[in-house]
Symmetry: C2
Subunit: 448 residues, 2 copies
Amino acid sequence: MKEYIEQNKERFFEELFSILRIPSISAKAENKPDMQRCAERIAQLLREAGADEAGVYPSSGNPVVFGCKIADPSLSTVLVYGHYDVQPAEPLEKWNSDPFEPVIHDGAIWCRGANDDKGQLFMHIKAFEYLLRSGQLRHNVKFMFEGEEEIGSPSLPQWIRDHKEMLAADVCLVSDTTMLGENIPSINCGMRGLSYLEVKVTGPDKDLHSGHYGGAVANPITVLCEMIASLHTPDGKVAVPGFYDKVVNLSRKDRDLLAKAPFDREAYKKSIGVRELRGEKSYSTLERTGIRPCLDVCGIWGGYTGEGAKTVIPSEAHAKISMRLVPDQLSAEITPLFARHFKRIAPRSVTVEVKECEGGDGFLIPIDSPAYKAASRAITEVYGIEPVPSRGGGSIAVLAEVQKILGIDPLLMGFGLERDTIHSPNESYLLKQFFGGMESIALFYRYF
Amino acid sequence: MKEYIEQNKERFFEELFSILRIPSISAKAENKPDMQRCAERIAQLLREAGADEAGVYPSSGNPVVFGCKIADPSLSTVLVYGHYDVQPAEPLEKWNSDPFEPVIHDGAIWCRGANDDKGQLFMHIKAFEYLLRSGQLRHNVKFMFEGEEEIGSPSLPQWIRDHKEMLAADVCLVSDTTMLGENIPSINCGMRGLSYLEVKVTGPDKDLHSGHYGGAVANPITVLCEMIASLHTPDGKVAVPGFYDKVVNLSRKDRDLLAKAPFDREAYKKSIGVRELRGEKSYSTLERTGIRPCLDVCGIWGGYTGEGAKTVIPSEAHAKISMRLVPDQLSAEITPLFARHFKRIAPRSVTVEVKECEGGDGFLIPIDSPAYKAASRAITEVYGIEPVPSRGGGSIAVLAEVQKILGIDPLLMGFGLERDTIHSPNESYLLKQFFGGMESIALFYRYF
């Protein structure tokens, strides 16, 4: 495939850039038309690559792009999953270039979605195109690209149920994760689930003068801070009663296996610019992000946030709270557990509202499957190093549903790197990984 | 003066509205030109009312409006203080009408600044106009209106020092406070000081994916919340060591005197829509806002605050923190005390920056002075009830400086009401108070 890449590189960039330029932000209502536009462009790329029936399928939310190539019904079938929606680009002022105008420099593509997940799903279209055109395709291939992954895939499970036969496959191949390092190839064999909520604390029914009322009235910001502060124990555990009840505790042996993944604590700290790490006591950093659940505040706001000094006790304070879950914690149980707890700890001087935003379950993938072995062999061939099995801290909410509805395991062959800063300003995707990923995917088909 | 008001009402509204329409927000750099415009318009109104030397005087910050009428150097002199700058209007979406387009309905003027302080300073110009035109002015009157009160009057003290002789007077008359109620006239005999700071907590040097890093890295929002939560004891005291060291503790007798001010706890709770009040243990609500210091968070922000779910560990979290001080707490001591404490309690996993925004000291006013007695008699005549001495929780930072530099006591004859929601959306000023204030001021001159 190396040669094919070399010959078609410029066209690949043009095609990828045409979808990167579309601000398909699923979290924002104003970008609704962009979702349709992006889906249509990807369907067109699928058709041009040689897929049949490629088109934009309506769902109860953003449309799903589907396309397939059935070479021979007796051959095994690969279902490729990806998503064309992206995270919001805020804070905009921290980008070095327009978040929706891709640029190439320093050996990488820089743009929102360059990696997550437009860049990664694009590798699959091109590997498929190469195999098809060179007469090497010996599998049936189906593509399913959704537009709601970043908001928790609310519509896809029903869409999958509605198209169960059309989607029947032997494995679900996904490139939407990272490797441990540029020179430490890895295959993700588990992901965390997610419960995401928005909370609102209301004190007085209007903003008050902080001089006239200060000291006599519960300040909703202070109360929210106190409530958030109470959500962790001094040992870094999540202090929501029942939160750990169903957490699968790994055996010493399994933990030792995970500990084999190379990890450079100092380099890790340096890469994110912190003096000290912080997390649950008695667990390593990789365990904290891989096999342990956690709770984070993703956003907080209330009162006057403009320039200068406004002396006010605000009426409201808000926060967005995300919990990463591990097997067997179920989002459907943890979300209401948290909501009940958060309301229970509110003092009587305020009112608390909790809104569910997004949820999904974590999952584990067996590492002795034919698909895992094929992926491992393909990556070994391209990188010259055998990939280690890793546990990703992120969530692809819908994959637990794919497992349940279609009865097939996902295989997470991701080529991102931490340095890509997905979800943050200046998202990028190393060209080395972009092309290495295409090659690895093409080889996966050879060995699967 | 009643008749004069009746005859000139429409002109009064037109004149006041012409200054209310100017968005003279001192906290915002973009409103710099509005400060000059507003000052010039007020100087013009002073000239039209009959003041001499009325003009716009430069200071190291926003200009000061000055004007005077020296009837006879042997007569006693009243220095009227007010401010033409206003608080920001945010949150804009909570206003029922344009914050800078005054409207009259339900017996009140609705506009930012309707009360604080354009409406109140305007009463003084009109009472002066009436006395002058009707030949009843038997005092020298000087007006000093500044444009930086809402940001802590950083330039006025120096300006006062530079114009000490020009400003010489026997009393400093101020209408920039509230009465206890529409039917509970009161005169403010003390105000709190202020220390206002902005804090910034930085964790990782960029926003991080909350899945990849969640559980392993200190989240600056969580840390900020924990730090803020630690600033109060369970008893509602400010938990900054040394904070109470210089607080003047009132005697039982003085506390009993203050307790005579009528206070309806249920009506108070209802007026601000809360089920329960909260504050320092063992103190009443009026004591908590009058004679005790406090700490409030006026604003907080960090991470993703837009629509939907963005899964991010932000790099930074911010808060604006205000402390109301009582005699003899000095802002110049409390501000660095807080800054040092806040940095000291930061965990090593984050970096904390603290920025001083605003400061000023509290003060007390004797209630046996000729000025207090004249004001009390004037208000009694207009309201039919003798005003009670009260302690205001707010701050007019510069008045402690006036006391020090000019050696005169301020007299706080304010006609606002809590229902006016100054500093908040839908600020208003009851016409009854607006006209009652003018009458009371005119009578003050008669009895002083």
